[in-house]
Symmetry: C2
Subunit: 130 residues, 2 copies
DNA sequence: GTCATATCTCAAGACATGTTGAGATATTGA
DNA sequence: TCAATATCTCAACATGTCTTGAGATATGAC
């Protein structure tokens, strides 16, 4: 993911309604949800407001849409989310792998395991990264 | 990291100058850089422009500042970056751990290793997450 | 104290973003 | 074809963001 694309993605996520939409669609999985249901979940947002935010997310590449009958189903673009995470991690781990370890460790739930230490590279960065 | 804080952070990163500042400060490490040097690196941005963006980043918790002589040194807040990554991973891995694995794997540079598979939890999610 | 340096603060203007409401478009069923 | 449903598109408005330039503030050297 290049810088411009990351900026678009960050911008798309920097808004309450859109961030919630993404989280909702992530939990909804690959089947997706129709715009109307998403609007309901957003507290009964107007259709034009939904359309606006959904198109912003789609332009940013974070969701995709497909028509199914009368409805248009949206789903999260998981690869784009993964790339965004990777973009952030590259920035923040470049020379500071000890910073990313806690994030990965928190994910795994387990204590700072050997697995985590193995997953995050250690290029000999300082430990006082705070 | 809660939703509101994540939105602030995403908003702060959704701007070319600010994203570059963060990347610069990450590579600069814990010693940090003076505002003037950062401005130079941003193509000679005006001091008021720098001040604006740096204060945005500081409000979002992504950088911290301290005075040292005449200069004010800024450095990246690594824990905040790590929390942001964790926030994103939680969203995107909730039920879809196979999505986060590539990101972690890309970080480690190594092929999709056992270490990575161990670091990212597998709660029995579908594999067709795309 | 005075001066130079480094940075911040403030106000103004241009531009971008988010919301609303009215109306257009596509799909389905009677 | 007609009506109902689901969603999009557009224009208008309010609000927020970014840049600029002028001036204020803090620090250190003379």
């Amino acid at each position: 993911m290049d810088e411009a694309r990351a900026i678009d993605a960050f911008g798309a996520l920097a808004q309450e309604t859109r961030l919630r939409i993404v989280r909702l669609l992530v939990t909804a999985g690959p089947e997706g949800l129709p715009a109307g249901v998403i609007g309901e979940a957003m507290g009964g947002a107007s259709s034009s407001r939904m359309s606006f935010h959904l198109s912003q997310l789609e332009q940013a590449g974070l969701v995709t849409s497909r028509r199914e009958g009368r409805s248009i189903l949206y789903n999260a673009t998981f690869p784009a989310l993964a790339e965004l995470i990777e973009f952030l991690m590259r920035d923040c781990c470049r020379g500071h792998p000890d910073v990313c370890r806690p994030a990965v460790a928190a994910l795994s739930g387990a204590a700072g395991s050997e697995a985590v230490r193995a997953a995050v590279p250690d290029k000999g960065a300082p430990t006082s990264a705070a």
